[in-house]
Amino acid sequence: MTSTLIQVNHFSYRYNQETEVALKNVHFEVASGEFVAIIGANGSGKSTLCNALVGLIPNYFVGFSEGSIIVDEKDTAAVSVGELSQTIGLVFQNPFNQLSYTADTVAEELAFGLGNRGVPREQMFSKIKEIAELIQIDELLDKNPLELSGGQVQRVALASAIILEPKILVLDECTTQLDPIGSRQIMNIIKKLNENGITIVMVDHDMERVAKLADKVYVIQHGTIVLGGTPEEVFCSPHLAEFSVNPPDYYEITKKFIKPGYSERDFALTESQAISLLQEVILYEDRNQKPQA
């Protein structure tokens, strides 16, 4: 039986010096082991929601909030961000914000969070080695984190969050500085982490990826969740365009082939779905052309 790990209960938030609310009556739940994607246009409130999930709102940011967020049975407003960090980890949109700026090497950077948790030094080595191999940064361990490229820092940032073994990982556009191959590698790792039981909440603009990985998708606009459900439900919604979100390109392309007779299915959102749909189309054409020949 899957339990609920995150409960966002009619949560609203307004930054101190702003007149408009950043989050308005946001209400959803995330079950243990689920992969949830948050999508929406720039400035819609995705990062604010991430900050709220890890407790930075209302503990760190000054503002006005209503409702509650319960993470692993803890009210985020009642416990410190540090305490919550034992359950929920955040990978910031800007990877340079993830750095502690106290480490002379990447290994020291990764050890920072472990040190705060009181992990013995001997255990740190094995954990750092394990995570560095997983994220493929083992060659960077002796380098200064401030002298790395954006993509390399993004990997270090992700590693610094994963090394703390949180139950929930919140990823705020965590592959923006990576090249397509690096981005795919990181997503494969995240997928593997999810398969191992870690709950993922991911903010992303890559709709193909969202359709492929997410169990549930929430569309956010002007701080409100306007659409939610499975990727199929969300991306096939006739209202999607109203929220400045486009479905995956595969959906648009394969829609042209979906007509009575070609396929039983109604849509293709992912690469594998699109391939099998095209195979069905080819087979259909073959079947219908051979008798004429």
């Binding site: 900050n51 890890v54 930075l56 503990n59 760190y60 410190s80 961000v81 540090g82 305490e83 960090s85 034992q86 980890g89 955040l90 910031f92 800007n94 914000n97 993830q98 750095l99 502690s100 700026y101 106290t102 480490a103 002379d104 290994a107 020291e108 050890a111 920072f112 969070g113 472990l114 040190g115 705060n116 948790r117 009181g118 992990v119 013995p120 030094r121 740190m124 401030l146 610094s160 703390l164």
Partner: protein, 254 residues
């Protein structure tokens, strides 16, 4: 010779940062307490020799000449000519007389400043900031205070990087940032605002990061990745430093 220099450099690098801090403190304070300035200049010579041995001679000399000579001349002018403690006159310039007491005092102050400067410089060149803070926190310094020291030490290179980025951005839009002193000053002044403001924003974001990475979490005793060892050489050097401090006190007591 190069091998000897390298092994001395390695030896100095391996010293416990607390030992280095103690040596800096004892040398500086000891020379300040000792009544005559000559001990200070002797120690300064030793620091220059150490600098040369570990491959930092040129930089130490540059620091001493660049800072020491103007400061010493200024102190000699003020204290030597106009100190109220001047009783024994050693030179007459017509417009003012130079007193021995003021001159000695000026030399002592300048030698102490130069010792602190050179010793701190050598320490920073041979010690990683993170090692210093790890050593301090392992000796019982509050973790948050340790972070504060480390973040402050690291803020200068970060700001330098930021200045470079902003400078490049301005250059790409046609702003002249090189050339004569006046031209560079003109280009540099508008940079101060964005650099300071973005540093403040960075500080806020860093605070968020620290929180999400469990900094200052109650319950767990923090541990460190960096192991700082105290060797026999550390203990001997610490004892020598303390003896130096006590011996510089003796002329005052006796």
């Amino acid at each position: 010779m190069e091998n000897i220099n390298n092994s001395i450099a390695v030896l100095v690098r391996k010293l416990n940062p607390i030992t280095k801090l103690l040596i800096v403190f004892c040398l500086g304070i000891g020379c300040l307490i000792y009544p005559l300035p000559f001990v200070g200049y002797g120690v300064l010579c030793l620091l220059v020799i150490l600098g040369i041995l570990i491959g930092q001679g040129k930089q130490v000399l540059k620091l001493i000449v660049g800072f020491g000579i103007p400061v010493t001349l200024m102190l000699l002018f003020i204290q030597g000519l106009y100190s109220p403690n001047n009783k024994t006159m050693i030179a007459d310039f017509g417009f003012a007389q130079m007193g021995l007491e003021g001159t000695m005092y000026a030399l002592k102050i300048s030698s102490t400043l130069l010792i602190f400067l050179a010793a701190f410089y050598l320490m920073l060149q041979t010690t990683k900031n993170s090692e210093t803070v790890a050593a301090l926190t392992q000796s019982g310094l509050n973790m948050k205070l340790g972070y504060l020291i480390l973040a402050s030490l690291n803020v200068v290179p970060q700001m330098q990087r930021k200045v470079k980025v902003i400078q490049e951005a301005q250059e790409s839009r046609g702003v002249e940032t090189s050339g004569s002193f006046i031209q560079r000053t003109k280009a540099f002044l508008p940079l101060i605002g964005p650099v300071v403001l973005s540093s403040l924003t960075d500080a806020q974001e860093r605070g968020m990061t620290l929180e999400t990475r469990g900094f200052g979490i109650s319950g767990d005793k923090p541990t460190s990745y960096i192991k700082v060892e105290t060797t026999g050489l550390d203990i001997v050097l610490r004892m020598i430093a303390i003896c130096f401090l006590i011996s510089s006190l003796l002329p005052r007591i006796l």
